[in-house]
């Protein structure tokens, strides 16, 4: 895996030392909150509803066991023994004390991690396919590109005060597991007619209050041109992006207001200007980074033990049917560890669980872990013969829930239980929905279903791209939940459509249950997923299920 140079280490340590001084000056009263706030945000420190919150980047979701153990150590030493994994491949600590944060950042620096650019109007943590380097459908591991982008964007002097935050996602596979079309820049690796790898460049996607699907700016960008081209995009945005209105400041609005043609013209012109300045140093660097992301040394051994365990143990079989994905190497599997045990908080892992996952990665997983944007943890390279042992250890740690991609594998933002911006709670609703489907024992029959919930219009929980999206709102001082249907966050990205009036906190779980059991009677056969059924039938039948006629009569 990629390791950092002395230069990187010094850079991060210097930043921590600087911040330590700033915290001390805030505590002794020589800095006001107004002066301190931008400084703390530059170091990932927020002030939330009940406490501070520290957001730590997990670049392109990749962790090694030592890093995962350090996250556990930080959770124990300075937080409440757990961390919250997010859709942006970050981990958030919900209870740090102001005076401890510099020590937490130093502890992160000990394992090559930091919280730089996890906040602010700058290029944020670059995210990538969580199956990178392992997926059977991949052209190339996108993480080298993500790392190159990270080095280029970190402390980039031109891009520290963009009109708004800026998010880049990369995938090297045909199937989009990185929601590239909902990012400011989405990069999808493709091959041209000559078979060379390059990128389809998508701009102007985003969720939030004005959700938009990104548009293709370039069908094919040679790999070697990536940095100058991205630099051209961000610099055009930096000039053109609106600074008069925070809600119109994202590049999606810039693209929308200026048109794709104009963006193309400006980006290409800027690209021509700056391309010559990239004298090949970036390509030398990329080659070094690529070497560091060399695939693991996979071995060839018998998978008989795996087959036997599947036959002998139905619980293992169910877990392996649901939580494994195809690996490119013969005899290997990608393991998705569900951080969504029924009734638990989506994305939360205790320090003990983090250590178990670190141990498993070390013992059976070639020393690699990934955080998925769906708030789960991945062991990307596990030999099938080791799966029974991995499963047994996960079970012991309460991490063996067989629900990846199913109704209870819900993405939920922190909502009003933690977030100062929230208008309603998300977590309890997610917990209740998951518990309900567990009681009904129909999750596996329902099949692939993505339920996503956000506690306000910022859409951190990705509700716009959920097959079923739930948005928590404040309606006259009462929590109210609006449903959207038909969203999709894959290569066929679609923004969900609002179903109708919202539901109260008491009504929302029964409404979701009605919707999903209703789908079971509407689908053509067991292979037709909820999303496919919705696409075939449209909103009406689902609306009729959600709002039965007698309710309408009563409301009138």
């Amino acid at each position: 895996m990629y390791t950092y140079t002395d230069f990187d280490e010094n850079f991060v340590r210097t930043r921590v030392a600087q911040f330590r001084g700033q915290v001390a000056r805030r505590i002794d009263g020589s800095l006001t909150e107004d002066e301190f706030k931008p400084l703390r945000l530059m170091n990932g420190l927020y002030l939330q509803l009940h406490a501070y919150m520290l957001r730590v980047a997990v670049p392109y979701g990749t962790l090694n066991p030592a890093q995962m153990r350090q996250l556990a150590y930080i959770a124990d030493r300075w937080d409440k023994g757990y961390g919250h994994f997010t859709t942006r491949q970050n981990i958030q600590y919900n209870w740090p004390k102001l005076g401890d944060v510099p020590d937490m950042l130093d502890a992160l620096a000990d394992v090559g991690m930091h919280a730089i650019q996890t906040s602010g109007n700058t290029i944020r943590n670059v995210t990538a396919d969580h199956f990178a380097g392992a997926a059977a459908d991949e052209i190339e591991d996108p993480r080298a590109i993500a790392e190159l982008l990270r080095q280029w964007s970190t402390d980039h002097p031109e891009f520290q005060f963009l009109p708004r935050k800026f998010k880049i996602a990369v995938t090297g596979a045909a199937h989009d597991r990185a929601v590239t079309k909902a990012h400011d820049i989405g990069l999808r690796m493709v091959r041209n007619d000559a078979g060379e790898p390059g990128f389809e460049v998508i701009v102007g996607g985003g969720l939030g209050r004005t959700p938009m699907v990104g548009k293709v700016l370039r069908d094919f960008l040679p790999k070697a041109d990536l940095l100058p081209y991205c630099e051209a995009i961000v610099s055009v945005y930096n000039l053109l992006g609106r600074r008069d209105n925070k809600y119109k400041a994202r590049i999606k609005i810039t693209v929308h207001e200026n048109g794709l043609d104009k963006m193309q013209e400006l980006v290409e012109a800027r690209f021509e200007d700056i391309r010559a300045g990239f004298t090949g140093h970036d390509q030398a660097l990329l080659a070094e980074i690529e070497a560091a992301f060399a695939p693991p040394a996979c071995v060839t051994k018998s998978t008989d033990g795996y087959e036997a365990a599947r036959l002998a143990n139905p619980a293992f079989r169910s877990w392996s049917d649901t939580n494994l994905s195809a690996h490119r190497a013969e005899g290997y599997a990608i393991v998705s560890i569900s951080i969504k045990k029924h009734g638990a908080t989506p994305g939360d892992a205790t320090s003990d669980q983090m250590r178990v996952m670190a141990d498993l990665a070390e013992r059976y997983g070639h020393g690699e872990l990934r955080i998925s944007h769906e708030q789960n943890v991945i062991l990307p390279h596990v030999h099938q013969s080791d799966l029974p042992a991995v499963y047994a250890a996960l079970r012991e740690a309460d991490l063996a829930t067989a629900n990846i991609g199913l109704a209870s594998d819900i993405i939920a933002c922190p909502g009003m239980d933690y977030c100062a911006l929230a208008t309603a709670r998300s977590i309890p609703i997610a917990q209740e929905i998951a518990t309900r489907f567990d009681e009904l024992k129909i999750e596996h029959e329902i099949g692939q279903l993505k339920i996503k919930i956000s506690g306000c219009i910022n859409a951190c929980g990705h509700h716009h791209v959920g097959h079923i999206g739930i948005l928590g709102l404040d309606r006259a001082g009462v929590e109210n939940y609006q449903i959207t249907l038909g969203g999709d966050g894959t290569e066929t990205t679609t923004i969900g459509e609002r179903a109708g009036p919202g539901f109260s906190a008491d009504e929302i779980v029964p409404a979701i249950e009605r919707l999903v059991t209703g789908y079971l009677s509407l689908r053509q056969d067991a292979d037709e997923t909820f999303l496919q059924a919705y696409r075939r039938l449209g909103m009406e039948p689902f609306k009729a299920i959600l709002y039965p006629r007698e309710d309408k009569a009563n409301a009138a």
Binding site: I27, E33, L47, L49, H50, A51, L98, D348, P428
Partner: protein, 99 residues
């Protein structure tokens, strides 16, 4: 017609811990909303907010939040403020265990 003024409390986050605190009559910050000063006059509320905000070495982000009088002291009227007096609903963390 003058706007109807609903009673308020001055609230903020404690500087060191980050948890919710409320301003008392004698200018200290309490972790228990029931000990807060209930402000029923708009001009006085504005003044108290400024006085609270000035204590930058103690708190961050002071604002006025709606509250009502009860026999047990001020209580929140909006669910957001009610959560701040308790803590999150998924774990017994925050004020529900601290107090």
């Amino acid at each position: 017609m003058p706007r109807h003024f609903t009673p308020k409390v001055v609230t903020a986050n404690a500087l060191l811990e980050g948890d919710a605190v409320w301003l008392t009559e004698d200018n200290t910050w309490t972790r228990d909303i029931r000990e807060a000063e209930l402000l029923t006059d708009e001009a006085h509320a504005d003044l108290r907010l400024l006085e609270g905000q000035a204590q930058v070495h103690m708190i961050a982000g002071a604002y006025l939040a709606d509250a009502k009088a009860t026999t047990d002291g001020p209580a929140p009227t909006h669910f957001r403020e009610a959560f701040r007096t308790r803590g999150p609903s998924n774990y017994a963390h925050g004020k529900q265990v601290d107090l």
